[in-house]
Protein backbone atom coordinates (compact mmCIF):
# COMPACT_ATOMS: atom_id res chain seq x y z
CA UNK A 1 0.00 0.00 0.00
CA UNK A 2 2.85 2.36 0.82
CA UNK A 3 3.92 2.32 -2.81
CA UNK A 4 0.51 3.48 -3.97
CA UNK A 5 1.06 7.01 -2.69
CA UNK A 6 3.42 7.73 -5.59
CA UNK A 7 0.58 7.16 -8.02
CA UNK A 8 -2.04 9.57 -6.73
CA UNK A 9 -2.79 12.13 -9.39
CA UNK A 10 -1.24 15.56 -8.60
CA UNK A 11 -0.27 14.38 -5.14
CA UNK A 12 2.80 16.28 -3.96
CA UNK A 13 5.63 14.25 -2.47
CA UNK A 14 7.39 15.24 0.71
CA UNK A 15 10.43 17.50 0.18
CA UNK A 16 13.04 14.81 0.86
CA UNK A 17 11.58 12.37 -1.66
CA UNK A 18 11.10 15.17 -4.15
CA UNK A 19 14.79 16.06 -3.89
CA UNK A 20 15.78 12.42 -4.37
CA UNK A 21 13.68 12.03 -7.51
CA UNK A 22 14.96 15.31 -8.90
CA UNK A 23 18.52 14.05 -8.53
CA UNK A 24 17.40 10.83 -10.18
CA UNK A 25 16.32 12.75 -13.26
CA UNK A 26 20.01 13.41 -13.90
CA UNK A 27 21.28 10.09 -12.60
CA UNK A 28 19.10 7.99 -14.90
CA UNK A 29 20.49 9.31 -18.22
CA UNK A 30 23.99 9.28 -16.72
CA UNK A 31 23.49 5.66 -15.66
CA UNK A 32 22.34 4.66 -19.15
CA UNK A 33 25.35 6.40 -20.64
CA UNK A 34 27.70 4.68 -18.16
CA UNK A 35 26.11 1.30 -18.83
CA UNK A 36 26.69 1.66 -22.55
CA UNK A 37 30.21 3.00 -21.98
CA UNK A 38 31.56 0.68 -19.27
CA UNK A 39 29.79 -2.64 -19.85
CA UNK A 40 31.39 -4.21 -22.96
CA UNK A 41 28.54 -6.72 -23.42
CA UNK A 42 25.91 -3.99 -23.84
CA UNK A 43 27.09 -2.54 -27.12
CA UNK A 44 30.86 -2.00 -27.88
CA UNK A 45 30.80 -2.78 -31.61
CA UNK A 46 34.48 -1.89 -32.05
CA UNK A 47 37.83 -3.26 -30.89
CA UNK A 48 40.64 -0.99 -29.84
CA UNK A 49 43.87 -2.60 -30.96
CA UNK A 50 46.53 -2.86 -28.23
CA UNK A 51 48.93 -5.15 -30.11
CA UNK A 52 48.63 -5.48 -33.91
CA UNK A 53 50.52 -8.80 -33.82
CA UNK A 54 51.15 -10.13 -37.31
CA UNK A 55 48.39 -8.16 -39.01
CA UNK A 56 50.03 -5.58 -41.18
CA UNK A 57 47.28 -2.98 -41.51
CA UNK A 58 46.39 -2.84 -37.76
CA UNK A 59 47.92 -0.01 -35.71
CA UNK A 60 48.09 0.44 -31.93
CA UNK A 61 45.05 2.35 -30.64
CA UNK A 62 43.21 1.98 -33.95
CA UNK A 63 39.50 1.25 -33.72
CA UNK A 64 38.41 -1.71 -35.81
CA UNK A 65 34.95 -3.09 -36.30
CA UNK A 66 34.42 -6.21 -34.18
CA UNK A 67 33.72 -8.61 -37.10
CA UNK A 68 36.69 -7.34 -39.09
CA UNK A 69 38.97 -7.83 -36.08
CA UNK A 70 37.90 -11.42 -35.48
CA UNK A 71 37.96 -12.23 -39.19
CA UNK A 72 41.53 -10.92 -39.53
CA UNK A 73 42.61 -12.79 -36.38
CA UNK A 74 41.11 -16.05 -37.65
CA UNK A 75 42.92 -15.54 -40.93
CA UNK A 76 46.18 -14.81 -39.06
CA UNK A 77 45.83 -18.01 -37.01
CA UNK A 78 45.25 -20.06 -40.17
CA UNK A 79 48.38 -18.60 -41.70
CA UNK A 80 50.31 -19.18 -38.43
CA UNK A 81 50.84 -15.50 -37.83
CA UNK A 82 50.63 -13.89 -34.41
CA UNK A 83 47.01 -12.73 -33.76
CA UNK A 84 46.30 -9.16 -32.82
CA UNK A 85 45.12 -8.16 -29.33
CA UNK A 86 42.68 -5.50 -28.27
CA UNK A 87 39.79 -4.53 -26.04
CA UNK A 88 36.14 -3.99 -26.91
CA UNK A 89 35.34 -0.33 -27.38
CA UNK A 90 32.56 2.04 -28.43
CA UNK A 91 32.76 4.12 -31.60
CA UNK A 92 34.72 7.33 -31.38
CA UNK A 93 31.53 9.40 -31.41
CA UNK A 94 30.42 7.93 -28.06
CA UNK A 95 33.08 8.77 -25.48
CA UNK A 96 32.70 7.54 -21.91
CA UNK A 97 31.47 9.90 -19.14
CA UNK A 98 34.89 10.18 -17.51
CA UNK A 99 36.49 11.24 -20.80
CA UNK A 100 33.91 13.98 -21.24
CA UNK A 101 34.33 15.02 -17.60
CA UNK A 102 38.08 15.27 -18.09
CA UNK A 103 37.71 17.31 -21.24
CA UNK A 104 35.54 19.80 -19.32
CA UNK A 105 38.71 20.98 -17.70
CA UNK A 106 41.11 20.20 -20.54
CA UNK A 107 39.10 22.02 -23.17
CA UNK A 108 39.57 25.27 -21.29
CA UNK A 109 43.31 24.94 -20.87
CA UNK A 110 44.09 23.54 -24.32
CA UNK A 111 45.33 26.37 -26.54
CA UNK A 112 43.66 26.66 -29.95
CA UNK A 113 45.43 24.91 -32.82
CA UNK A 114 46.01 28.09 -34.76
CA UNK A 115 47.20 31.24 -33.02
CA UNK A 116 44.37 33.42 -34.38
CA UNK A 117 41.67 31.01 -33.25
CA UNK A 118 39.78 31.74 -30.00
CA UNK A 119 40.13 29.82 -26.76
CA UNK A 120 37.05 27.93 -25.55
CA UNK A 121 36.12 30.57 -22.97
CA UNK A 122 36.36 33.21 -25.68
CA UNK A 123 34.05 31.17 -27.90
CA UNK A 124 31.56 30.74 -25.07
CA UNK A 125 31.62 34.42 -24.24
CA UNK A 126 31.06 35.24 -27.91
CA UNK A 127 27.96 33.01 -27.91
CA UNK A 128 26.63 34.57 -24.73
CA UNK A 129 27.11 38.04 -26.24
CA UNK A 130 25.13 37.07 -29.35
CA UNK A 131 22.29 35.78 -27.15
CA UNK A 132 22.30 38.85 -24.92
CA UNK A 133 22.22 41.25 -27.86
CA UNK A 134 19.57 39.31 -29.75
CA UNK A 135 17.35 38.92 -26.70
CA UNK A 136 17.84 42.54 -25.65
CA UNK A 137 17.00 44.00 -29.07
CA UNK A 138 13.96 41.73 -29.36
CA UNK A 139 12.73 42.52 -25.85
CA UNK A 140 13.14 46.28 -26.12
CA UNK A 141 10.54 46.31 -28.90
CA UNK A 142 8.46 43.19 -28.22
CA UNK A 143 7.72 43.72 -24.52
CA UNK A 144 6.17 47.20 -24.83
CA UNK A 145 4.38 46.14 -28.01
CA UNK A 146 3.05 42.97 -26.38
CA UNK A 147 1.83 44.87 -23.32
CA UNK A 148 0.12 47.47 -25.52
CA UNK A 149 -1.46 44.76 -27.68
CA UNK A 150 -2.66 43.00 -24.55
CA UNK A 151 -4.13 46.19 -23.11
CA UNK A 152 -5.61 48.19 -25.98
CA UNK A 153 -7.59 46.45 -28.70
CA UNK A 154 -6.32 48.85 -31.35
CA UNK A 155 -2.75 47.64 -30.88
CA UNK A 156 -3.94 44.07 -30.71
CA UNK A 157 -5.68 44.28 -34.08
CA UNK A 158 -2.88 46.26 -35.66
CA UNK A 159 -0.12 43.81 -34.71
CA UNK A 160 -1.35 40.34 -33.91
CA UNK A 161 -2.60 39.09 -37.31
CA UNK A 162 0.76 39.89 -38.92
CA UNK A 163 2.71 38.53 -35.97
CA UNK A 164 0.67 35.30 -36.10
CA UNK A 165 1.63 34.98 -39.77
CA UNK A 166 5.27 35.81 -39.29
CA UNK A 167 5.90 33.46 -36.38
CA UNK A 168 5.37 30.50 -38.72
CA UNK A 169 8.33 31.59 -40.84
CA UNK A 170 11.38 29.68 -39.59
CA UNK A 171 14.09 32.07 -38.44
CA UNK A 172 16.87 30.20 -40.32
CA UNK A 173 14.99 30.95 -43.57
CA UNK A 174 16.21 34.52 -43.13
CA UNK A 175 19.87 33.50 -42.91
CA UNK A 176 20.85 34.34 -46.48
CA UNK A 177 18.87 37.57 -46.38
CA UNK A 178 20.40 38.74 -43.13
CA UNK A 179 23.90 38.04 -44.43
CA UNK A 180 23.13 40.13 -47.53
CA UNK A 181 21.87 42.99 -45.39
CA UNK A 182 24.07 42.80 -42.30
CA UNK A 183 27.34 41.28 -43.55
CA UNK A 184 29.05 38.13 -42.37
CA UNK A 185 30.02 38.97 -38.79
CA UNK A 186 27.79 39.19 -35.72
CA UNK A 187 25.01 41.23 -37.34
CA UNK A 188 23.16 38.39 -39.09
CA UNK A 189 23.60 36.10 -36.06
CA UNK A 190 21.93 38.59 -33.75
CA UNK A 191 19.26 39.08 -36.42
CA UNK A 192 18.41 35.36 -36.47
CA UNK A 193 17.99 35.34 -32.68
CA UNK A 194 15.82 38.47 -32.89
CA UNK A 195 13.63 37.00 -35.64
CA UNK A 196 13.31 33.73 -33.75
CA UNK A 197 12.37 35.41 -30.47
CA UNK A 198 10.51 38.60 -31.33
CA UNK A 199 7.23 37.28 -32.73
CA UNK A 200 6.71 34.66 -30.06
CA UNK A 201 7.54 37.31 -27.50
CA UNK A 202 4.91 39.77 -28.70
CA UNK A 203 2.22 37.08 -28.61
CA UNK A 204 3.23 35.67 -25.27
CA UNK A 205 3.44 39.04 -23.53
CA UNK A 206 0.15 40.10 -25.09
CA UNK A 207 -1.49 36.91 -23.85
CA UNK A 208 -0.08 37.35 -20.38
CA UNK A 209 -1.32 40.92 -20.26
CA UNK A 210 -4.82 39.84 -21.19
CA UNK A 211 -4.88 37.40 -18.32
CA UNK A 212 -4.79 40.21 -15.76
CA UNK A 213 -7.76 39.88 -13.42
CA UNK A 214 -10.33 42.37 -14.81
CA UNK A 215 -11.79 42.78 -11.32
CA UNK A 216 -8.59 44.59 -10.32
CA UNK A 217 -9.11 47.11 -13.11
CA UNK A 218 -12.71 47.61 -12.00
CA UNK A 219 -11.66 48.06 -8.38
CA UNK A 220 -9.08 50.63 -9.43
CA UNK A 221 -11.69 52.50 -11.46
CA UNK A 222 -14.07 52.73 -8.52
CA UNK A 223 -11.13 54.13 -6.56
CA UNK A 224 -10.76 56.91 -9.09
CA UNK A 225 -7.99 55.62 -11.36
CA UNK A 226 -8.49 56.17 -15.06
CA UNK A 227 -6.59 56.34 -18.35
CA UNK A 228 -2.85 56.20 -18.06
CA UNK A 229 -2.97 55.72 -14.29
CA UNK A 230 -4.90 52.48 -14.74
CA UNK A 231 -2.18 51.37 -17.12
CA UNK A 232 0.82 52.34 -15.01
CA UNK A 233 -0.59 51.51 -11.58
CA UNK A 234 -2.61 48.38 -12.27
CA UNK A 235 -1.77 46.78 -15.62
CA UNK A 236 2.01 47.08 -15.39
CA UNK A 237 2.53 46.00 -11.76
CA UNK A 238 -0.15 43.34 -12.10
CA UNK A 239 1.47 41.55 -15.03
CA UNK A 240 5.14 42.14 -14.18
CA UNK A 241 5.83 38.79 -12.48
CA UNK A 242 4.16 36.87 -15.31
CA UNK A 243 6.02 38.88 -17.94
CA UNK A 244 9.21 38.08 -16.07
CA UNK A 245 8.37 34.38 -16.16
CA UNK A 246 7.64 34.63 -19.91
CA UNK A 247 11.04 36.23 -20.40
CA UNK A 248 12.72 33.27 -18.71
CA UNK A 249 10.97 30.88 -21.06
CA UNK A 250 11.79 33.04 -24.08
CA UNK A 251 15.45 33.27 -23.11
CA UNK A 252 15.51 29.49 -23.33
CA UNK A 253 14.04 29.69 -26.83
CA UNK A 254 16.68 32.24 -27.83
CA UNK A 255 19.37 29.68 -26.94
CA UNK A 256 17.79 27.13 -29.27
CA UNK A 257 18.36 29.52 -32.19
CA UNK A 258 22.00 30.03 -31.25
CA UNK A 259 23.47 27.05 -33.10
CA UNK A 260 21.69 27.99 -36.31
CA UNK A 261 22.60 31.63 -35.91
CA UNK A 262 26.29 30.95 -35.38
CA UNK A 263 26.80 29.14 -38.66
CA UNK A 264 25.39 32.11 -40.54
CA UNK A 265 28.21 34.10 -42.14
CA UNK A 266 31.51 33.22 -40.53
CA UNK A 267 31.09 30.47 -37.96
CA UNK A 268 31.83 31.66 -34.43
CA UNK A 269 31.25 30.97 -30.78
CA UNK A 270 30.47 27.65 -29.21
CA UNK A 271 29.12 26.36 -32.53
CA UNK A 272 32.45 27.00 -34.21
CA UNK A 273 34.15 25.17 -31.35
CA UNK A 274 31.79 22.20 -31.63
CA UNK A 275 32.14 21.95 -35.39
CA UNK A 276 35.91 22.34 -35.19
CA UNK A 277 36.29 19.60 -32.56
CA UNK A 278 34.02 17.32 -34.56
CA UNK A 279 36.19 17.91 -37.57
CA UNK A 280 39.25 16.77 -35.57
CA UNK A 281 37.11 13.87 -34.29
CA UNK A 282 37.64 14.99 -30.67
CA UNK A 283 34.12 14.00 -29.75
CA UNK A 284 34.49 14.23 -25.98
CA UNK A 285 35.08 17.95 -26.48
CA UNK A 286 31.89 18.12 -28.54
CA UNK A 287 29.94 16.52 -25.71
CA UNK A 288 31.57 18.77 -23.17
CA UNK A 289 30.64 21.86 -25.19
CA UNK A 290 27.03 20.73 -25.60
CA UNK A 291 26.74 20.04 -21.88
CA UNK A 292 28.28 23.44 -21.16
CA UNK A 293 25.45 25.11 -23.07
CA UNK A 294 22.99 23.20 -20.91
CA UNK A 295 24.78 24.18 -17.72
CA UNK A 296 24.91 27.85 -18.71
CA UNK A 297 21.20 27.71 -19.59
CA UNK A 298 20.00 26.04 -16.42
CA UNK A 299 22.21 28.10 -14.11
CA UNK A 300 20.93 31.30 -15.70
CA UNK A 301 17.36 30.08 -15.31
CA UNK A 302 17.78 29.01 -11.70
CA UNK A 303 19.38 32.36 -10.94
CA UNK A 304 16.60 34.27 -12.71
CA UNK A 305 13.95 32.20 -10.94
CA UNK A 306 15.51 33.01 -7.60
CA UNK A 307 15.85 36.68 -8.53
CA UNK A 308 12.20 36.72 -9.59
CA UNK A 309 11.02 35.27 -6.31
CA UNK A 310 12.98 37.99 -4.52
CA UNK A 311 11.66 40.74 -6.78
CA UNK A 312 8.02 39.67 -6.67
CA UNK A 313 7.59 38.64 -3.08
CA UNK A 314 3.83 39.07 -3.27
CA UNK A 315 3.65 36.47 -6.03
CA UNK A 316 6.11 33.94 -4.68
CA UNK A 317 4.37 34.12 -1.29
CA UNK A 318 7.56 34.11 0.64
CA UNK A 319 9.52 36.73 2.47
CA UNK A 320 12.30 38.42 0.59
CA UNK A 321 15.88 38.34 1.78
CA UNK A 322 15.62 42.05 2.40
CA UNK A 323 12.67 41.71 4.75
CA UNK A 324 14.26 38.73 6.50
CA UNK A 325 17.42 40.75 7.04
CA UNK A 326 15.34 43.60 8.37
CA UNK A 327 13.67 41.23 10.82
CA UNK A 328 16.97 39.82 12.05
CA UNK A 329 18.32 43.33 12.42
CA UNK A 330 15.32 44.61 14.34
CA UNK A 331 14.89 41.55 16.57
CA UNK A 332 18.52 41.66 17.62
CA UNK A 333 17.91 45.14 18.98
CA UNK A 334 14.33 45.16 20.17
CA UNK A 335 11.59 42.78 21.17
CA UNK A 336 10.80 39.54 19.31
CA UNK A 337 9.18 39.87 15.92
CA UNK A 338 5.41 39.74 15.77
CA UNK A 339 4.41 36.71 13.76
CA UNK A 340 2.97 37.77 10.42
CA UNK A 341 0.74 34.80 9.86
CA UNK A 342 -3.01 35.05 9.51
CA UNK A 343 -4.25 33.45 12.71
CA UNK A 344 -7.20 35.79 12.89
CA UNK A 345 -10.26 34.41 11.20
CA UNK A 346 -11.98 37.69 10.59
Amino acid sequence: MARARYFIIWKELDPRRRRVFQVFSFIIPLAVWSLVSYCPFVWHPMVKVSDPGGIAHFRVDALVAKEAFFRENAKALEEHRKPAQGVLANPVYLPAPHEVAKSFYKAFVTPPRLPEEPWLHESLWHSIKIIIWGFLISSVIAVPLGILAGTYRIFSYMTEPFVEFFRYLPAPAFAALSVAVLGIYDGPKVAIIVIGTFFQQVLMISNTTQRLDPALLEAAQTLGARGLKLFTRVVIPGILPDVYRDMRILLGWAWTYLIVAEVVGNSTGITWFINQQAKYRIYYNVYAAIIMIGIIGITTDIFLAWLGSELFVWKSRKRSILSRLRTVYSTSRTEPETVQVSHDNA
Binding site: A215, A219, G224, R226, V234, P237, W314, D344, A346
Partner: protein
Amino acid sequence: MTTHDVALPSYLEQSPEVSARFRRIAERPVVLKVNQLGKTFDSVKGRIQALHDISFQVRRREFISIIGPSGCGKSTLIRILAGLDDHSSGEILLDDREVTGPGQDRGMVFQGYTLFPWLTVLKNVMFGLEVSGGTNGIAGVSAEQEARGWIEMVGLEAFADAYPHELSGGMKQRVAIARALANRPRILLMDEPFGALDAQTRAKMQSYLLQIWKNVDITILFITHDLEEAIYLSDRIVVLKANPGEIQEVIEVPVEHPRAPEQFLSREFLATKKRLEELIHPAKDAEDMLPIIRMTQVGDDVY
Protein backbone atom coordinates in the same frame (compact mmCIF):
# COMPACT_ATOMS: atom_id res chain seq x y z
CA MET B 1 -40.76 26.63 8.83
CA THR B 2 -41.11 27.80 12.37
CA THR B 3 -42.59 31.12 11.32
CA HIS B 4 -45.85 29.42 10.43
CA ASP B 5 -46.54 28.30 13.96
CA VAL B 6 -45.89 31.54 15.79
CA ALA B 7 -48.34 34.42 15.67
CA LEU B 8 -46.27 37.22 14.20
CA PRO B 9 -47.16 40.89 13.87
CA SER B 10 -47.26 42.40 10.40
CA TYR B 11 -43.88 43.50 9.12
CA LEU B 12 -45.57 46.84 8.47
CA GLU B 13 -46.13 47.49 12.18
CA GLN B 14 -43.49 49.81 13.61
CA SER B 15 -42.81 50.72 17.20
CA PRO B 16 -42.95 54.48 17.95
CA GLU B 17 -39.13 54.59 18.15
CA VAL B 18 -38.72 52.92 14.78
CA SER B 19 -41.28 55.06 13.00
CA ALA B 20 -39.76 58.19 14.56
CA ARG B 21 -36.41 57.12 13.18
CA PHE B 22 -37.84 56.66 9.70
CA ARG B 23 -39.41 60.12 9.91
CA ARG B 24 -36.01 61.56 10.82
CA ILE B 25 -34.39 59.74 7.88
CA ALA B 26 -37.06 61.13 5.55
CA GLU B 27 -35.96 64.65 6.45
CA ARG B 28 -32.38 64.02 5.37
CA PRO B 29 -31.22 65.03 1.89
CA VAL B 30 -31.30 62.44 -0.88
CA VAL B 31 -27.83 61.19 -1.81
CA LEU B 32 -28.66 58.73 -4.57
CA LYS B 33 -31.67 58.94 -6.83
CA VAL B 34 -32.38 56.19 -9.35
CA ASN B 35 -35.07 57.08 -11.89
CA GLN B 36 -36.73 54.51 -14.16
CA LEU B 37 -33.46 52.70 -14.69
CA GLY B 38 -33.55 50.02 -17.39
CA LYS B 39 -30.98 47.65 -18.80
CA THR B 40 -31.36 45.47 -21.86
CA PHE B 41 -28.72 43.41 -23.54
CA ASP B 42 -28.63 41.23 -26.60
CA SER B 43 -27.91 37.56 -26.27
CA VAL B 44 -28.21 34.56 -28.57
CA LYS B 45 -31.80 34.15 -27.39
CA GLY B 46 -32.63 37.67 -28.43
CA ARG B 47 -33.02 40.86 -26.43
CA ILE B 48 -33.11 40.36 -22.68
CA GLN B 49 -34.57 42.88 -20.26
CA ALA B 50 -32.30 42.58 -17.25
CA LEU B 51 -33.64 45.56 -15.32
CA HIS B 52 -36.91 47.39 -15.87
CA ASP B 53 -38.18 50.63 -14.40
CA ILE B 54 -36.06 50.63 -11.25
CA SER B 55 -36.70 53.74 -9.16
CA PHE B 56 -35.66 54.40 -5.58
CA GLN B 57 -33.94 56.97 -3.44
CA VAL B 58 -31.26 56.63 -0.81
CA ARG B 59 -31.02 59.31 1.85
CA ARG B 60 -27.86 60.42 3.64
CA ARG B 61 -26.48 57.77 6.03
CA GLU B 62 -29.18 55.31 5.20
CA PHE B 63 -28.32 51.63 5.01
CA ILE B 64 -30.17 50.06 2.10
CA SER B 65 -30.01 46.44 1.05
CA ILE B 66 -31.03 45.02 -2.28
CA ILE B 67 -32.08 41.40 -2.33
CA GLY B 68 -33.73 39.17 -4.85
CA PRO B 69 -33.62 35.70 -6.34
CA SER B 70 -30.63 34.77 -8.47
CA GLY B 71 -30.88 36.30 -11.91
CA CYS B 72 -32.89 39.30 -10.73
CA GLY B 73 -30.12 41.64 -11.85
CA LYS B 74 -29.04 42.90 -8.45
CA SER B 75 -25.38 42.63 -9.34
CA THR B 76 -26.04 44.33 -12.69
CA LEU B 77 -27.79 47.12 -10.81
CA ILE B 78 -24.92 47.78 -8.44
CA ARG B 79 -22.40 47.61 -11.27
CA ILE B 80 -24.43 50.21 -13.15
CA LEU B 81 -24.53 52.39 -10.05
CA ALA B 82 -20.75 52.02 -9.71
CA GLY B 83 -20.39 53.04 -13.35
CA LEU B 84 -18.81 49.72 -14.39
CA ASP B 85 -21.71 48.87 -16.74
CA ASP B 86 -23.89 51.11 -18.91
CA HIS B 87 -27.62 51.42 -18.49
CA SER B 88 -30.08 51.46 -21.37
CA SER B 89 -32.64 53.91 -20.05
CA GLY B 90 -33.40 56.10 -17.08
CA GLU B 91 -30.95 58.06 -14.99
CA ILE B 92 -28.87 57.91 -11.85
CA LEU B 93 -28.35 61.07 -9.84
CA LEU B 94 -25.76 61.36 -7.09
CA ASP B 95 -26.33 64.61 -5.20
CA ASP B 96 -28.46 65.67 -8.17
CA ARG B 97 -25.60 65.18 -10.62
CA GLU B 98 -25.94 62.57 -13.35
CA VAL B 99 -23.60 59.62 -12.95
CA THR B 100 -21.49 58.58 -15.94
CA GLY B 101 -18.74 56.03 -15.52
CA PRO B 102 -16.91 55.01 -12.35
CA GLY B 103 -15.79 57.65 -9.92
CA GLN B 104 -14.38 58.26 -6.47
CA ASP B 105 -17.74 59.51 -5.18
CA ARG B 106 -19.00 55.92 -5.19
CA GLY B 107 -16.80 53.44 -3.35
CA MET B 108 -17.23 49.77 -4.10
CA VAL B 109 -16.50 46.60 -2.17
CA PHE B 110 -16.55 43.41 -4.23
CA GLN B 111 -17.23 39.86 -3.17
CA GLY B 112 -13.80 38.78 -4.45
CA TYR B 113 -11.87 41.34 -2.30
CA THR B 114 -9.96 42.67 -5.36
CA LEU B 115 -7.05 43.89 -3.29
CA PHE B 116 -3.98 44.66 -5.38
CA PRO B 117 -1.77 41.69 -4.54
CA TRP B 118 1.44 43.57 -5.30
CA LEU B 119 0.71 46.30 -2.75
CA THR B 120 0.89 46.04 1.02
CA VAL B 121 -2.22 46.71 3.09
CA LEU B 122 -1.05 50.28 3.62
CA LYS B 123 -0.39 50.87 -0.08
CA ASN B 124 -3.74 49.33 -0.99
CA VAL B 125 -5.56 51.75 1.27
CA MET B 126 -3.44 54.62 -0.08
CA PHE B 127 -4.25 53.73 -3.68
CA GLY B 128 -7.32 55.94 -4.04
CA LEU B 129 -5.64 58.84 -2.27
CA GLU B 130 -2.61 58.59 -4.53
CA VAL B 131 -4.41 58.37 -7.87
CA SER B 132 -6.53 61.34 -6.90
CA GLY B 133 -3.35 63.24 -6.08
CA GLY B 134 -3.29 63.74 -2.36
CA THR B 135 -5.68 63.66 0.55
CA ASN B 136 -9.38 64.26 0.35
CA GLY B 137 -10.01 67.04 2.73
CA ILE B 138 -7.99 67.37 5.89
CA ALA B 139 -5.11 69.72 5.24
CA GLY B 140 -1.67 68.84 6.51
CA VAL B 141 -2.36 65.12 6.72
CA SER B 142 -0.35 62.96 4.36
CA ALA B 143 -1.97 60.18 2.38
CA GLU B 144 -0.03 57.68 4.46
CA GLN B 145 -1.23 59.10 7.77
CA GLU B 146 -4.77 59.13 6.51
CA ALA B 147 -4.54 55.56 5.25
CA ARG B 148 -3.10 54.44 8.59
CA GLY B 149 -6.08 55.98 10.30
CA TRP B 150 -8.47 53.90 8.20
CA ILE B 151 -6.44 50.73 8.74
CA GLU B 152 -6.55 51.36 12.47
CA MET B 153 -10.31 51.79 12.25
CA VAL B 154 -10.73 48.29 10.81
CA GLY B 155 -8.32 46.94 13.44
CA LEU B 156 -5.47 45.91 11.16
CA GLU B 157 -2.69 48.29 12.16
CA ALA B 158 -0.44 45.31 12.92
CA PHE B 159 -0.81 44.20 9.30
CA ALA B 160 -0.16 47.50 7.55
CA ASP B 161 3.00 46.15 5.92
CA ALA B 162 1.61 42.70 5.12
CA TYR B 163 0.67 41.64 1.60
CA PRO B 164 -2.90 40.54 0.87
CA HIS B 165 -1.91 36.88 0.52
CA GLU B 166 -0.87 36.91 4.17
CA LEU B 167 -4.39 37.83 5.29
CA SER B 168 -7.52 35.77 5.89
CA GLY B 169 -10.68 36.42 3.87
CA GLY B 170 -12.30 38.52 6.56
CA MET B 171 -9.16 40.61 6.99
CA LYS B 172 -8.94 41.14 3.24
CA GLN B 173 -12.49 42.40 3.15
CA ARG B 174 -11.78 44.77 6.03
CA VAL B 175 -8.87 46.18 4.03
CA ALA B 176 -11.17 46.51 1.01
CA ILE B 177 -13.67 48.46 3.12
CA ALA B 178 -10.92 50.71 4.49
CA ARG B 179 -9.60 51.24 0.97
CA ALA B 180 -13.04 52.28 -0.31
CA LEU B 181 -13.72 54.54 2.69
CA ALA B 182 -10.34 56.28 2.46
CA ASN B 183 -11.62 58.02 -0.65
CA ARG B 184 -14.48 59.46 1.42
CA PRO B 185 -17.13 58.46 -1.09
CA ARG B 186 -20.69 59.78 -0.88
CA ILE B 187 -22.02 56.25 -0.98
CA LEU B 188 -20.46 52.84 -0.37
CA LEU B 189 -21.65 50.16 -2.76
CA MET B 190 -21.17 46.61 -1.48
CA ASP B 191 -21.72 43.68 -3.84
CA GLU B 192 -22.29 40.58 -1.68
CA PRO B 193 -19.15 41.48 0.27
CA PHE B 194 -19.42 38.67 2.82
CA GLY B 195 -20.68 36.01 0.40
CA ALA B 196 -17.36 34.18 0.27
CA LEU B 197 -16.83 34.11 4.05
CA ASP B 198 -17.74 31.35 6.48
CA ALA B 199 -20.71 31.91 8.79
CA GLN B 200 -18.73 32.94 11.87
CA THR B 201 -16.53 35.39 10.01
CA ARG B 202 -19.58 36.78 8.26
CA ALA B 203 -21.31 37.47 11.59
CA LYS B 204 -18.20 39.27 12.81
CA MET B 205 -17.98 41.29 9.62
CA GLN B 206 -21.63 42.31 9.90
CA SER B 207 -20.97 43.61 13.36
CA TYR B 208 -17.85 45.50 12.16
CA LEU B 209 -19.82 47.01 9.32
CA LEU B 210 -22.56 48.29 11.63
CA GLN B 211 -19.91 49.85 13.87
CA ILE B 212 -18.23 51.52 10.91
CA TRP B 213 -21.56 52.78 9.58
CA LYS B 214 -22.44 54.24 12.97
CA ASN B 215 -19.17 56.12 13.30
CA VAL B 216 -18.36 57.18 9.74
CA ASP B 217 -20.39 59.61 7.67
CA ILE B 218 -21.30 57.09 4.99
CA THR B 219 -24.38 55.95 3.11
CA ILE B 220 -24.41 52.23 2.29
CA LEU B 221 -26.05 50.29 -0.51
CA PHE B 222 -25.61 46.60 0.17
CA ILE B 223 -26.34 43.67 -2.11
CA THR B 224 -26.92 40.27 -0.60
CA HIS B 225 -28.89 37.10 -1.10
CA ASP B 226 -28.92 36.38 2.63
CA LEU B 227 -32.31 37.49 4.01
CA GLU B 228 -31.16 37.64 7.63
CA GLU B 229 -28.11 39.66 6.70
CA ALA B 230 -30.34 42.16 4.88
CA ILE B 231 -32.71 42.53 7.85
CA TYR B 232 -29.93 42.68 10.41
CA LEU B 233 -28.02 45.44 8.64
CA SER B 234 -30.54 47.59 6.80
CA ASP B 235 -32.90 50.47 7.34
CA ARG B 236 -34.76 49.57 4.20
CA ILE B 237 -34.67 46.54 1.90
CA VAL B 238 -35.34 46.79 -1.81
CA VAL B 239 -36.74 43.45 -2.99
CA LEU B 240 -36.24 42.66 -6.66
CA LYS B 241 -37.90 39.99 -8.75
CA ALA B 242 -36.46 38.30 -11.82
CA ASN B 243 -37.42 38.34 -15.53
CA PRO B 244 -37.42 41.24 -15.89
CA GLY B 245 -35.61 42.64 -12.85
CA GLU B 246 -38.15 44.91 -11.22
CA ILE B 247 -38.73 46.28 -7.75
CA GLN B 248 -41.26 44.12 -5.97
CA GLU B 249 -41.41 46.00 -2.72
CA VAL B 250 -39.36 48.36 -0.60
CA ILE B 251 -39.54 47.24 3.02
CA GLU B 252 -38.86 49.46 6.01
CA VAL B 253 -37.21 47.14 8.51
CA PRO B 254 -39.15 47.43 11.81
CA VAL B 255 -36.24 46.13 13.92
CA GLU B 256 -34.95 48.68 16.40
CA HIS B 257 -31.46 50.17 16.55
CA PRO B 258 -28.88 49.48 17.83
CA ARG B 259 -28.92 46.09 16.22
CA ALA B 260 -27.62 42.99 18.00
CA PRO B 261 -27.52 39.29 17.06
CA GLU B 262 -30.17 38.54 19.73
CA GLN B 263 -32.69 40.36 17.54
CA PHE B 264 -32.57 37.53 15.01
CA LEU B 265 -35.35 35.91 17.04
CA SER B 266 -37.36 39.04 17.77
CA ARG B 267 -40.94 39.22 16.50
CA GLU B 268 -40.23 42.15 14.16
CA PHE B 269 -37.23 40.36 12.72
CA LEU B 270 -39.13 37.16 12.07
CA ALA B 271 -42.11 39.05 10.65
CA THR B 272 -39.81 40.78 8.17
CA LYS B 273 -38.12 37.52 7.34
CA LYS B 274 -41.46 35.87 6.71
CA ARG B 275 -42.42 38.63 4.33
CA LEU B 276 -39.10 38.34 2.48
CA GLU B 277 -39.52 34.57 2.23
CA GLU B 278 -42.94 35.08 0.66
CA LEU B 279 -41.54 37.54 -1.85
CA ILE B 280 -38.41 35.66 -2.79
CA HIS B 281 -39.46 32.04 -2.45
CA PRO B 282 -43.12 31.96 -3.48
CA ALA B 283 -45.17 28.79 -2.95
CA LYS B 284 -43.42 25.70 -4.26
CA ASP B 285 -44.05 24.94 -7.87
CA ALA B 286 -43.70 21.69 -9.76
CA GLU B 287 -40.22 22.68 -10.95
CA ASP B 288 -38.84 22.10 -7.47
CA MET B 289 -39.89 18.44 -7.44
CA LEU B 290 -37.45 15.95 -8.91
CA PRO B 291 -38.91 13.04 -10.90
CA ILE B 292 -37.42 10.44 -8.58
CA ILE B 293 -38.71 6.90 -8.36
CA ARG B 294 -38.54 5.08 -5.07
CA MET B 295 -35.29 3.11 -4.69
CA THR B 296 -35.51 2.19 -1.00
CA GLN B 297 -37.30 -0.64 0.73
CA VAL B 298 -40.72 -0.27 2.26
CA GLY B 299 -40.41 0.46 5.97
CA ASP B 300 -36.97 2.01 5.52
CA ASP B 301 -38.35 5.53 5.38
CA VAL B 302 -36.43 8.51 6.72
CA TYR B 303 -39.72 10.21 7.53
